[in-house]
């Protein structure tokens, strides 16, 4: 294990410091803890060249992460997913410079491979032999897979009504899968109670400060893939708000260290209207988030009591961004729009994000020449039921006549 620049955990609420252990809330005020770094050490060590010489995974940014693992922790490399230009999508939206960060191209097909990589590397360094999580599905997939690769035992807790694809794609890795009769917030509460008395690393509970840091790599990669010039605007889904805030933080770190050029991007968040506590607070100009009971097809975003909601509001406000609430039909339209213009099939969360971009563009909030990055964080094969009814199919007898009768006049090309 290499030394890293991480120095302590700091309470965001009251500023008290804790050592770099499995503490997840401030012992005094219950405020959230975040990893602090030795800025002088970072400034003296990290260069674009050093990053470029790193492995083709998120571990090329290990200097900027709280843990620098070796051995089994590297068994299932995540990250360094494609950033692709999306001219046809841009054209449909009246824009000129839209890119898609396609994070479906991860080992378990969502961005959760990033946070789990960092969380489990730290958990192993702290001596844990058992991994666990509360999940809406994508995290369950990632914890089960990365635990299998690293040889850790794992327990995964999900709401019982989860999509079948996500349940199967978790259980297959040999985890202990527990379906809880309740919603994600119920599952999360149960896990918070279990974490207090068990020597397990719950990736999004007692090792959450490290887990969250993994999301920063979605900023680092976009910057590096754009030749270290930051985009003007990012559109990102919001569930707990952790991803949204950490992408902003990642860009900020690159600017502070002189690694990237430009200004902090305008951060636009997207929630499903059926579970939009942060978007509602935004629309009403509040600086607090009132919990809601989720009801949406975007189950990976269905967190009614978002832990980082207030910080997401801060980020949207300080970057002159916005937070949109997207209706169920619009989510499906968003999935189809992305698929038809980029060839990328996203899960419902990406439908929310794509629809939010389309709405911002339609409202004229985006300058035509802005460079916009759309973050697509999960694969459409995880939520096929959401769009199954939209797909037309024509079943015919295996004859030319039947084909022409069903599809209409055959187009003959000379």
């Amino acid at each position: 294990m290499e030394r890293t620049a991480a120095t302590a955990l700091r309470c965001k609420e009251c500023g008290r410091h804790e050592p770099l252990t499995a503490a997840y809330v401030c012992e005094f005020c219950f405020g959230p803890l975040e990893v602090t770094y030795d800025q002088d050490l970072l400034a003296a060590t990290v260069t674009r060249e050093r990053i470029a010489q790193g492995p083709p995974s998120l571990w090329r940014y290990r200097d900027l992460l709280p843990v620098a693992p070796d051995g089994p922790a590297l068994a299932l490399p995540a990250g360094l997913t494609p950033l692709v230009p999306a001219p046809r999508l841009a054209d449909r939206l009246g824009l000129r410079d839209v890119w898609v960060k396609n994070d479906t191209a991860n080992p378990t097909h969502s961005f959760k491979d990033r946070v789990v990589s960092v969380a489990l590397a730290k958990a192993r360094a702290l001596g844990y032999r058992v991994a666990a999580c509360a999940s809406t599905g994508n995290l369950a997939n990632a914890v089960a897979a990365h635990s299998a690769a690293a040889g850790l035992e794992s327990y995964v807790f999900v709401p019982a009504d989860l999509e079948e694809q996500k349940i199967v794609a978790t259980g297959i890795y040999g985890t202990t899968l527990v379906a809880v009769d309740g919603n994600y917030d119920d599952v999360n509460r149960l896990c918070t109670q279990l974490a207090a008395d068990r020597p397990w690393a719950f990736v999004n509970v007692n090792v959450r400060p490290y887990y969250s840091e993994g999301s920063k790599t979605l900023a680092y990669e976009v910057a590096e893939q754009l030749d270290w010039r930051l985009p003007d605007r990012c559109v990102v889904p919001i569930a707990s708000g952790s991803l949204f805030t950490r992408i902003r933080r990642g860009f900020g770190e690159l600017l502070d260290l002189g690694l990237a050029e430009g200004r902090p991007p305008t951060m636009c968040g997207a929630q499903a209207a059926g579970c939009s506590p942060v978007a509602e607070a935004w629309a009403e100009g509040r600086d607090f988030v009132t919990p809601v009971r989720p009801s949406t097809i975007a189950k990976s975003l269905a967190i009614g009591n978002p832990a980082d909601g207030v910080f997401a509001l801060d980020v949207a406000r300080t970057t002159a961004g916005a937070i949109e609430a997207i209706g169920e039909d619009e989510i499906v339209e968003g999935i189809a729009l992305l698929a038809e213009t980029t060839g990328i099939f996203t899960e419902t969360a990406g439908g929310v994000t794509t629809a939010a971009l389309a709405r911002l563009a339609a409202r004229g909030e985006i300058d035509r020449d802005e460079r916009v990055v759309l973050y697509i964080t999960g694969d459409g094969l995880k939520t096929v039921d959401a769009v199954a009814s939209r797909v037309e199919r024509r079943t015919i007898a295996p004859t030319v006549e039947a084909f022409e009768a069903a599809v209409g006049e055959a187009r003959l090309v000379a």
Partner: protein, 94 residues
């Protein structure tokens, strides 16, 4: 019968390392005051300025009190109150 208040790990040292304490029925505020009367300093760890601290969640019979009347939510005889930290990751404006 009484009300059982489940204490989260960070606060257990304050209440003699107990995982739960028994109280008389009342509002959430009255319960917190009662525990504070026996274990000085308890109230200030979960409340500030008369309200629950931002990252403290309280559940009465499994229901988040923010869906009810907040600290004025009534707790009936035999009900269970659970105090839990909100799990937040924090954000860094830099």
């Amino acid at each position: 019968m009484a009300v059982t208040v489940r204490i989260p790990a960070p606060l257990r040292p304050l209440v003699g390392d107990a995982a739960a304490v028994e109280c008389e029925p009342g509002t959430v505020r009255q319960l917190i005051e009662e525990v504070d009367g026996r274990h000085a300093g308890f109230r200030d760890r979960v409340m500030a300025d008369g309200a629950l601290r931002r990252f403290v969640n309280v559940f009465v019979g499994g229901e988040d009190v923010r869906f009810g009347d907040g600290v004025e939510t009534a707790v009936a005889d035999g009900q269970e109150v659970t105090i839990l930290p909100a799990v937040a990751g924090g954000a860094g404006e830099r």
